[in-house]
Symmetry: C2
Subunit: 236 residues, 2 copies
């Protein structure tokens, strides 16, 4: 056994986490105040405070002196994400963004994809292919495989209006991610879409996102090296 008696403040943290993860408390919802939690859990204000404090540091909550504590916007969490939502990135540069949806369907996964998605070869997965444009120039091809068990309504979305990343974030807001970045030469089809020659180096990012239930999706992002670079800012 690991812990006989979990600390009181962790119980409160868990309670709040569950409310948020389960969707009972929405973004910007007001969270019980320190005094309310004090009564509800029969603890001192300092203990209730500690729970709220730590969740705030983790980015789940936002506190404002005088007005209260609120569920954070998941958007703000994505700023922690290394590789950001491309639509935001382009907008921040003051450029025009638009997307073209090339495919959106259910497919049989091959062996490689199956492994990466924790499925079996031949299982069905949802697949989307979206081309992202910056000022009318194709800048990134996003091919994405999604675990159908975890994101049921993926195929009914319109990814010219919302990016797959944004949609998935709204469905499973609390996730981990692994990234692999490679420099590759793209195949002929991809080169044609991106309007580059077959000898042009491309940046390819494979991003796997996880929720507590397993792998949510695998994104393969391919960008021409001469049109796109990956930026990041880390403080440590």
């Amino acid at each position: 056994m690991t812990k006989l008696k979990p600390a009181k403040y962790t119980i409160i943290k868990q309670y709040i986490c569950e409310k948020i993860e389960s969707g009972q408390w929405f973004e910007h919802s007001k969270v019980p105040s320190e005094n309310e939690l004090t009564e509800q859990f029969s603890v001192s204000r300092m203990t209730a405070r500690r729970a709220l404090q730590e969740l705030t540091e983790q980015g789940l909550l936002v506190r404002s002196q005088g007005s209260g504590t609120f569920v954070a916007t998941f958007k703000s969490q994505s700023s922690l994400l290394e590789i950001r939502n491309i639509a935001d990135e382009i907008h921040e540069r003051g450029h025009q963004y638009h997307a073209q949806q090339l495919a959106l369907q259910s497919v049989d996964v091959n062996e490689e994809i199956a492994i990466l998605l924790s499925l079996k070869t031949g299982d069905k997965a949802y697949f989307s292919s979206v081309l992202h444009f910056e000022n009318e120039v194709a800048i990134q091809l996003e091919q994405r495989f999604v675990n159908p068990k975890l994101v049921a309504h993926y195929l009914t979305q319109d990814f010219t209006k919302i990016t797959p990343h944004e949609y998935l974030s709204s469905e499973a807001p609390l996730t981990e991610a692994t990234h692999e970045v490679e420099a590759i030469l793209a195949n002929a089809d991809v080169c044609k879409l991106l309007n580059i020659t077959e000898s042009a180096p491309c940046l390819q990012v494979k991003r796997r996102t996880w929720s507590s239930q397993g792998v949510v999706s695998l994104a393969i992002l391919t960008s021409p090296g001469n049109k796109y670079r990956l930026g990041s800012h880390l403080v440590f």
Copy 2:
């Protein structure tokens, strides 16, 4: 003016930070206990505790119930860093690592480098060029420009024994970093060093590291796309 009266715990935090940044307290040094800080700053234990707690969360300190509080190893911080020390990465794969030092000198910086290092064109900067090998195969070329005002003894190091990144981390442990990742075609000289053809795509990472005094260094890391990929694991 921003703040009339800084909180007491921030004063203690600053005090500890300065001791660490200035090198007066080494890695693994014992930090004053909560009770000692309580006396030294004439505050309550809870206030002293808060300072230690927050610095622990920031990764500067390590606490151990029963034994005390210690300055963290800066090594452990680099695990937060996206793009890791290549020597560690190779060792973790169970492969053999070695480095070849190609250059180590003072150079005049051109305009591009000057801007990135916050120097003026024609100023002197320290320059190092190191080739990293995994199992005798060249895997990464590291070209680095260092601000001579901030790292005085850079030219006297032996970068076959310690990587530039490790050395700089020990000199200016508390930094920020910005990264840019591109897919490029390397020039002939670089291709020869990396033993690849001139049409092979390469991953190029430009990493700028900052201390509180300014830009410390600019690293240009070039790796063949078919031999190297960038991995990362983010939790958010």
